[in-house]
Structures are given as C-alpha cells and as structure tokens.
Symmetry: C2
C-alpha cells in the first residue's frame, strides 16, 4: 500500500491510518454511494451483535459484489483482517469517520409540512450523528409552533440561525416555488451541502453540493421497469441505496 503522505518513516501505524485524508486520487461518486450502503449494513450488523463480516458477507447482505466492496474500501485504507474479514464495530467506526459522521453535526430544515414532520419523526437518525437543529417555514400558521422541542422559526431567521449554529448541512422540504430562494438563502448563510426534496433541481454555486431527491422520478423509473413487455433481463435490484 502507498504510504500516507508525509511522515513516511514515523511510528508504524498499527492503528488504522487516518481515513479522513484519502490517499491520492479523488473518490468516485459511485464508490461514495456504496460506502453509505456499507455504513447502513454495518449499523445493522452491529445491532445483531456480529463481530466480523467478510466482503462475501457484505455481498450477501447488500447485493454488491465482494470485489467491489474490497475495491471501494481500499480507496480509503486497509481496514480488513486477512483470513478473517472486517471487524464490524471498527469498520463501522472507520466508515463513520470517512463520512464525517463521527461527531454530531447540526442540520437545518426548511419546510415544516408533512415531509418535514416525517423527517423529524424518523427513527434511525442516531447512528448518523445528525441532528435537525432548526426548522423554518414561511407559513405564519406554522411559525412559532413547537414539536419535538423545536420551535418553527420564520424562514427570514435562517441566515442568523445557520451562522449561530455553524451549520453546514441543509434540507429543503418546501414546495417547488420556494426552493430556489431557500437554497440561495442557505448558501448565502454558509450552508455547504443541500438535500433537496422539492420537485425542481436546485443549481448551486460552485463549492456547494446538492442532491435532489425526487420520488416521482423514482416511480417513473419503476414504471418503465414494470412494463408488461419486459419478462427478460434479470435486473434484480435496480436501485442504489
């Protein structure tokens, strides 16, 4: 394996090399998407009390080939135990660090409608160390209401609150009309990445990443796959994540 940059002789790193600094090349998005699948899988496995999981074990649980699993992980370092597999708790911890989920991060949420409520009440946030730290809406009927110990603030307060929280992650769960403006406001306030549920693609400034989630697009893809005249093709698991 390549030496980590700098300090090529120093004390032998028998601990896992700091995975925050991936050596050399930048990581393909496909690898990153699968990494989040592995993380999910590891959370499950840890729940079950599993100590070790081999790349073949990952394949069984995720449908992603053992080759692929090993290749993906090798982007970040060597985490396996040859002849045995991967230590579930340790790899879970390592992947959390790679994904920067090892310490709590505040997330701000724009939109206090049904979707916002669904996100707030979602179980399973815990292992991700992400916490919705503020909720915003324009609707005067919603502003000021409290649920889950969060009071809905007016969207105009977003910049100030984002700055105070030093939040870097935002979720947009407002109707299409408002999305672009909310996005601009978030970016202006220092938000670096946005998860957008509004049914309109949000185009960020450079340096800001956006992922658009559109369930209607997902259904459109599935609609294609459901077409009667397709009894060929063993496409088992069409989707990622």
């Amino acid at each position: 394996m390549k030496q980590p940059p700098g300090n090529p002789i120093g004390p032998a790193a028998d601990e896992i090399a700091d995975p925050l600094h991936q050596p050399g090349r930048s990581v393909p998005m496909a690898t990153l998407e699968r990494l989040s699948v592995y993380f999910n899988c590891l959370i499950q496995a840890e729940h079950e009390g599993l100590e070790l999981l081999s790349s073949a074990g990952f394949e069984e649980r995720t449908g992603i080939s053992a080759y692929q699993v090993r290749k993906d992980l090798s982007h970040f370092g060597e985490f396996g135990l040859r002849g045995r597999g991967y230590s579930v708790p340790r790899l879970r911890h390592t992947v959390a660090r790679i994904l920067c989920l090892h310490e709590e991060q505040p997330v701000v949420l724009a939109g206090a409608g049904n979707l916002g409520a669904a996100l707030l009440s979602f179980p399973g946030w815990r292992p991700y160390n992400l916490r919705i730290a503020a909720v915003f809406d324009v609707d005067p009927a919603k502003v000021g209401r409290t649920s889950r110990s969060l009071t809905v603030q007016h969207i105009d307060d977003l910049p100030e609150t984002v700055a105070r929280l030093e939040a870097r992650m935002g979720i947009i769960a407002v109707p299409a009309e408002g999305a672009q403006r909310v996005a601009a406001s978030m970016v202006g306030a220092g938000i670096r990445v946005i998860l957008n549920f509004a049914p309109i693609a949000v185009f960020p400034q450079t340096g800001v990443s956006v992922r658009n989630v559109c369930f209607l697009s997902e259904l459109a893809i599935l609609s294609y796959l459901a077409r009667c005249d397709r009894e060929d093709e063993g496409q088992r698991n069409g989707g990622i994540l």
Copy 2:
C-alpha cells in the same frame, strides 16, 4: 439508423416509431435515470410554453451534457428535428410513453404516517399519470380514517385490493420492522415494482424491481462532501435526479 425489427419496407414511419419497443440492446440504468430527469425538464419547459428545446438547451437546464442527451434518446429512436432541436410537447409525450406514464396507473401505498401523508398531498403527480389508489396501515387508530377521499385499509386487505385494482406498483412507507413483510405481501399479490422508503434494503424475488430511497444515506454522502478539508474538486452537482 437501424431499421425497427420486422416490417423493414412497410409505410415509411414518418411518425415516431413506437418507442415502447426499444430496438436491440437493453437500456442502461444510468440512461433510464437520466430519462426521468429529461421528463421532469420537459414538463417544466412545457409549462413555460416552450416549443423547442435543443440538446444544448437540456444541458443548460439539467447539467447533463448535450452529447449525453442525444445519446440517451437515441436508445429509443429518433425524436429530434435536425437543425432545430426537439419539439417539447412531442418529446414529452414520447418520453411519457417510453416510461409507460402515458396512461393512468394505480399505485398502492403501505403506511399512513407522516411520510404517507406527505406523498398523498404532494403536488405534481398529475403529469406522471400515477394515482395512489389505496392506502394501508396496521395501526387500528389509522385504519378507517379518510383523507383525500381515500380510506385507510388494514394491511391485511392489501392482497385483495391489489388484485382488484390490478396494481403493479407499490410504495412502502412503513417502519423498518414491517418493510420486509409488506414487500412479501405486495409481491405475492402481483406487485411488480416497489419504491421503498423504509430504512432497510428490501430484496425482491426475481422479476421484481425495488428502488430503495434512504435520505439518511443521502445525508451521509453530503456529509462527506461537506468536509472542511475539501476545497478541491469542482463536483458541482453531486447527485442524479
């Protein structure tokens, strides 16, 4: 261009060749995912009253390269007007047919919680011709309640209702614990494709397609991309859709 299979001489197809039967090779998933982006874009453009849109225009609006747009569409036929671009209404119609969104399809929804409510109240279903035709839950407190002229049925009624509606598409919006059982029930009842929001990957039988949507995974990816030590890489729009 390749002749469509059969009838190689017949009346010159000056109408669009039936796009339901893609010629030759099977369509890459990446192409299919982008196709749903084009569809979205066309709906928008039609809304704006745009008559023509060139592949360069698509690039501007979606971030997907003009090359890619033309290549993707060429999987299904020739829909453009050389020297002019694509007719927005006609291409919208054609893509709807490719995706099998040209006639109304019933969708069944398992889970009448916040997420279910968000899906039901989502605006923008119209152009997709998809209609949630039945809602199910296990919670006795929810069963029997009516919203948007749909009465929540007990999940045990799912098989019968799916059969009656001849539904082929299902959405799972129940907690993780229930997901696998609901999926099995859906598949047993004849559902062919499933959109799964439960935070656990559902593994289908052969012939059934599943797409798992997990917003926590999306946030995990974004968390990685937000890492302070990444001011390199001009990854503008990380996500698809």
